[in-house]
């Protein structure tokens, strides 16, 4: 990771620069450009929340957690349910102030995500470490089951967020355009998280163990470190962060049974194009894909390419893989 390849840096600059240039040309004013940029960063941060767990878990445990999208979805549903009246969890009595209720709803979502994460790792994945292919198959199955359970609890009708609360409704003006403070807040939170996780990986003992485990799991064990515990911790954290993503996305995107799949696919594109197991690659890849999707959304307005934004991450992925088969920062063999 320390020896970042020159060609991958150039590729990153070219792609991000190109995206920003297209966004700029395509928008007629600085204000519109700013909106596209903010929307791209917003989506990029949500993607990061799904992709970071995916990437670190893969690097450390060789498990590609296909259920990561389902954790995002669970986060969205729990936060929605906790914030709104009725449903499984009704907090409107206990915390009447919606501005106060929202952080509680988010925390609740994170806790549920973490709990489900522990259950999956301890209960289901652990017996299968000797058979990695089956782990892949298992997480795939778990994703299906989680989606079905959610349909069973919350039905298949999508929920759109109706609760009004302060941050979500507030705007600020710049270049004659109204920008959503909430999006800015999510972007800020994402950036803080990117830095926090980077610090955790760089400075703490557990971070050193994780990075060492990505390289050589057996050697870490031989030093007297119980990697199983580290696995559980990392896996749980990954699931909790994905649930956090779903929870903070819900005020804008609502809760639906397809929301997880969409983010999972985009996150997979991010993880692969960033280079599997590389944290830097995941962070940069998230921003890249988020921007690309926002640019594509702009470009698709009023044209017949309605599908363009949804296939953009895959197109970007294919482009990057053709240039660098193991991703921007990756070592895939």
């Amino acid at each position: 990771m320390a020896r970042t390849n020159r060609s991958s840096l150039i590729a990153i600059l070219v792609i991000i620069g190109g995206l920003i240039a297209v966004a700029f040309v395509n928008s007629n004013s600085l204000g519109n450009f700013g909106i596209t940029l903010l929307s791209g960063l917003f989506q990029g941060m949500l993607l990061f929340l799904v992709a970071s767990g995916l990437s670190i878990v893969f690097g450390l445990m060789d498990v590609l957690n296909f259920a990561q999208g389902a954790y995002f979805m669970v986060g969205a549903y729990v936060a929605y349910d906790a914030q709104h009246a009725g449903g499984l969890i009704d907090l409107t009595q206990a915390i009447p102030d919606p501005n106060l209720r929202f952080p509680v709803a988010v925390i609740l979502a994170v806790i549920v995500g973490a709990l489900l994460g522990v259950i999956l790792e301890r209960g289901l994945l652990r017996p299968l470490y000797a058979r990695p292919v089956f782990q892949l198959v298992l997480t795939f199955g778990v994703a299906l089951v989680m989606a079905e359970i959610i349909k069973f609890i919350w039905t298949t009708t999508p929920y759109s967020w109706t609760e009004v609360f302060g941050v979500r409704e507030s705007f600020f003006e710049l270049f004659g355009q109204r920008f959503s403070t909430y999006r800015l807040f999510v972007v800020g939170m994402g950036i803080v998280l990117i830095i926090l996780i980077a610090l955790l990986l760089r400075r703490s003992r557990i971070g050193i163990i994780i990075r060492a485990g990505v390289e050589d799991r057996e050697m870490v064990q031989s030093l007297g470190i119980n990697v199983q515990t580290v696995f559980t911790l990392v896996f749980t954290l990954g699931c909790a962060i994905a649930a956090l993503g779903g929870a903070v996305a819900a005020p804008f995107l609502g809760a639906s049974t397809t929301i997880g799949d969409i983010f999972l696919l985009q996150a997979i594109a991010v993880v692969v194009l960033g280079g599997m197991g590389s944290y830097e690659g995941t962070a940069i890849g998230s921003v890249m894909v988020g921007l690309a999707v926002a640019v594509a959304q702009d470009a698709a307005i009023g044209t017949s390419f309605a599908a363009l934004p949804s296939i953009t991450p895959m197109l970007l992925l294919i482009l990057v893989l053709l240039l660098r088969p193991s991703g921007l920062f990756g070592n895939a063999r």
């Binding site: 198959v137 299906l144 079905e148 599997m276 949804s310």
Partner: protein, 356 residues
């Protein structure tokens, strides 16, 4: 798992198979006799209407044959070569669309369109497999899984919005000759599907027991070792994915003809999950497993689809929780039943033998 050559006659070695085959050939007539219905349907004027128990059960088995072909192709790749795909629906759906496009969107006459469509569909499936394989198979296994999933989903999303093929609605196939049209002649289509399923089985059995098949299985057990023995494992994996893609395409063609409709749902993740699940439940890397898995799960599905489960005062429509049940079976199968029906049976047999 080595295949020990047995010095018995072909007839003797395939005894069970021949009995089963005979039963399946006679099946429409047996059901017809048991339920007092005609395997040809009901005559109305000079046309045959496809009604009655025999005809209904023919459809069920046709669906089993299609799923069995799809699952056998999946198992060739996953079970015998150890390559996991999460986008098998890609081949299934691509073949359907190409065939449908040839029939409905070109000026060719029906016979030509069928031949051209079918050949193009199968060739393109092979090429698609080759391309995806070339991009990803050099890397770790998950790259292939991811890439197939991504490409399949991309096509799924794209076709769901492509106006030419009527986006999400898809389009109907109107132009099939009578003998290929299950709404006019179920019985001939039944035999077509049966023949293709049997040919697929024989082909895969032949392939798996050939030297090439031995290399496939060596790759599954330990690719580095296979490589150090001097095999170009990439070429073998490419071969396996091309064949699997083409066979999945055959299943897709049959599906289009059966439903006389083409739509994006043919590329949905369901057509990847089904063969995956059926392979695991039947027995990964066994010849009969996919058939048992496909038949077992599909028949259960048909049987339970419109039943209700009464728990005290609660009535649960099984159709509503069928996907959930399948998912739970899936997880249980992976964890506690990892060898599938056939593998577990073999282990059980081996244990019984050892005790004797």
């Amino acid at each position: 798992m080595a295949v020990t050559p047995r010095k018995t006659g072909w007839l003797q070695g395939n005894g069970w198979l021949l009995v089963l085959l005979a039963l399946l050939i006679l099946f429409p007539f047996i059901v017809g006799a048991l339920t007092d219905s005609s395997p040809y349907g009901v005559a109305r004027g000079d046309r045959m209407i496809m009604r009655g128990e025999s005809v209904r059960w023919q459809s069920v088995l046709i669906e089993v044959y299609i799923l069995a072909i799809l699952t056998m192709s999946y198992n060739l790749l996953f079970g015998f070569t150890g390559v996991i795909s999460f986008g098998h629906a890609l081949f299934f759906g691509t073949a359907s669309y190409l065939f449908g496009l040839a029939l409905e969107f070109t000026e060719m006459d029906t016979g030509l369109a069928i031949v051209v469509g079918a050949v193009a569909a199968i060739v393109v499936c092979g090429l698609l497999g080759l391309l995806i394989g070339l991009v990803t198979l050099r890397l770790k296994g998950v790259y292939f899984a991811i890439f197939t999933l991504a490409v399949a989903e991309m096509f799924f999303i794209f076709l769901g919005r492509w106006q030419l093929t009527r986006a999400e609605d898809g389009f109907a196939i109107t132009d099939l000759p009578a003998w290929l049209d299950p709404t006019q002649s179920r019985l001939s289509f039944y035999y077509l599907a049966l023949v293709l399923a049997v040919l697929t089985f024989l082909f895969i059995r032949r392939l798996v027991n050939s030297p090439t098949g031995a290399v496939f299985q060596a790759i599954r057990e330990n690719e580095d070792r296979a490589q150090s023995l001097g095999y170009n494992t990439l070429n073998y994996k490419l071969f396996s994915i091309v064949i699997a893609g083409m066979l999945a395409g055959v299943a897709g063609l049959l599906q289009v003809m059966l439903n006389k409709k083409v739509g994006p749902e043919l590329l949905s993740v369901g057509y990847t999950v089904d063969p995956l699940l059926m392979t695991i439940i039947g027995g990964v890397g066994t010849l009969g497993g996919p058939i048992i898995g496909a038949a077992g799960l599909h028949l259960l599905d048909v049987f339970f689809r419109d039943r209700e489960l009464v728990l005290g005062s609660m009535t649960i429509d099984i159709a509503n929780i069928w996907a959930l049940l399948l998912g739970v079976i899936f997880i249980l199968a992976v964890i506690v039943f990892p060898y599938g029906v056939i593998g577990t049976w073999r282990r059980w047999q081996a244990r019984a033998l050892r005790k004797r």
